[in-house]
Amino acid sequence: MQGVAARSSGLAQVLKATARIVPSKVEPLGAAVIQESLPFIEKPASKTHSNYALASQLPPSGFLNPRVMSGIGVSCQYRLAHTDLQVPDFDYYRKAPKEADDSIEGDNNRKAFTYLMLAGAGAPALYGTKTVITQFVSSMSASADVLALAKIEINLDEIPEGKNVTFKWRGKPLFVRHRTAEEVDKEAAVDVGSLRDPQHDTDRVKNPEWLIILGVCTHLGCVPMANAGDYGGYYCPCHGSHYDASGRIRAGPAPLNLEVPYYEFVEDNLLVVG
């Protein structure tokens, strides 16, 4: 002790005057004590081993019996040598010996139970995760108001024979043409091999009486005029593409036939496009 004190010099003396190490359950030695210590009263060993019970066996801390002191202006360092602490007894956590079954069968049963519990929690958790993810992913699909506009219902009774009617569908013009019998015969008789975009008339209509096409010229997207042009179908005023009464490109710069959207006849006179 004296040696330590003597070697300390300058700032070190201010920081720490002495250091001592004492057995934890023993009253501090008297040698370098600056403050008075109360005698330490040993408590009987606790039966339980909770944090609180174990901590209460340590010397009490307080301003007369500090547990740790260090730093500027502190006179004494007080350390506990934990050599005399007993290892706590953990039997409290262990299974009772009679429950323990050391056979392979018993081991398997215990493991099966554990894994069953894990699977029992895992399956519902997986289901919940899947439900939440589905919700988020489906929020990326088209919203209900967009879907409501995606379909158009057309009453075919209002379109007389030989007439082409334009509807607005998904922001584009939609042509619905009630073809005459002559037009149907004429388009069906066209030699497919002579076409720029070979497609037979029967492939373009579900009911030969009705031609349903998008009114967007495949050249640069103008809207063709109905019942015009050299082939009796459509004529694009922008760059002079001629389409026939099946919407197929016959002359001019356009590369492809007019597009046929998905449609179906719900009833005899009701057409649903989209």
Binding site: P66, G71, V87, M117, A121
Partner: protein
């Protein structure tokens, strides 16, 4: 620097309190004071407390916000955590809205398609939509035209625009009713109380021309006249159309318009609670199982 600060702070915390402060504590006592000083101190304390109380009272004096009758909580059939809306009531409320409220109030954010599966089947909703004329266009000649409504159309607005609505209602704008239950304190309780709470103004309250007294309305003077009376419409299901019945049904309908997801939400609530009731005990058991190894191990230190 931080280390130095931490060290200083810790040192201050760990330092054993010396005797001086205990001595000071002992010195601070009223015992040694004379009686006069004691009385003086007491008076000073009482005066301070009084001044603070007066200040606080003035601070929270009566404000205009308090001059309003708060609506009572009503036992709605959808109040419970797992209670759905009463769809028969929504349907009656829709007719009340259509025949009474829609004369002045818009409902811009509800489309006819949303009624399908709630109060109408698809054909009924189509017929309902076809009753109104909707402005559409432009057509091939660039003109707007009117056509019968479709499922994708929203409820018609009784006025062209806000200015027209104001001009027709003495300068007061009838609010859009779609989210009105969410937009007012008290929700459907408030709407119900407002619709049924019209009464004569008490003595001393002046009500201007064109406004009406309603104790539930902020300020008391509301520009909307009483709209619901007994038997103003006839319910198709034979429910007696009393004023409170009409108000209750229209409130349920407005609750639905402001929360169309209400029933789905509560359906999910059941699933959520059931799922959590299943998973939580299992998760706790599994935690205990995993920790049992950590908690019951012995660490033995050996000397070599």
């Amino acid at each position: 620097m931080a280390a130095l600060f931490g060290r200083t702070a810790r040192q201050a915390l760990c330092r054993a309190p010396n005797g001086v402060c205990c001595q000071q504590k002992a010195n601070f006592s009223f015992k040694k004071l004379s009686t006069g000083k004691k009385v003086g101190l007491g008076l000073l304390g009482a005066t301070t407390a009084g001044a603070v109380s007066v200040g606080a009272a003035l601070q929270y004096s009566v404000s205009a916000m308090d001059l309003i009758l708060h609506p009572p909580h009503l036992p709605w059939s959808h109040s419970g955590v797992l209670d759905s809306l009463d769809h028969a009531s929504i349907r009656r409320g829709y007719y009340v809205y259509k025949q009474v409220c829609a004369a002045c109030h818009s409902m811009d954010f509800i489309a006819y398609r949303e009624l399908v599966g709630v109060i109408f089947d698809e054909d009924e909703a189509k017929a309902e939509a076809a009753e109104v004329m909707v402005k559409d266009g432009p057509d091939e000649e660039g003109k707007m035209f009117e056509r019968p409504g479709k499922l994708s159309d929203r409820f018609p607005n009784p006025y062209e625009n806000e200015e027209a609505a104001k001009a027709a209602n003495n300068g007061a704008l009838p609010p859009d009713l779609t989210y009105i239950v969410k937009a007012r304190h008290g929700g459907e309780d408030y709407i119900f109380s407002l619709l049924t709470g019209y009464c004569d103004p008490p003595a001393g309250v002046d009500i201007k021309e064109g406004t009406y007294f309603n104790p539930y309305f902020l300020g008391g003077a509301i520009s909307m006249a009483q709209a619901l009376y007994n038997e103003i419409i006839e319910y198709e299901d034979g429910t007696p159309a009393t004023q409170s019945q009409l108000a209750k049904d229209v409130c349920t309908f407005l609750k639905w318009t402001s929360e169309p997801e209400h029933d789905i939400r509560k359906r999910y609530a059941i699933k959520f609670f059931a799922l959590m009731a299943l998973i939580t005990p299992l998760a706790f058991w599994y935690k205990r199982f995993k920790w049992s190894v950590v908690k019951s191990r012995k660490i033995v230190f050996k000397k070599y």
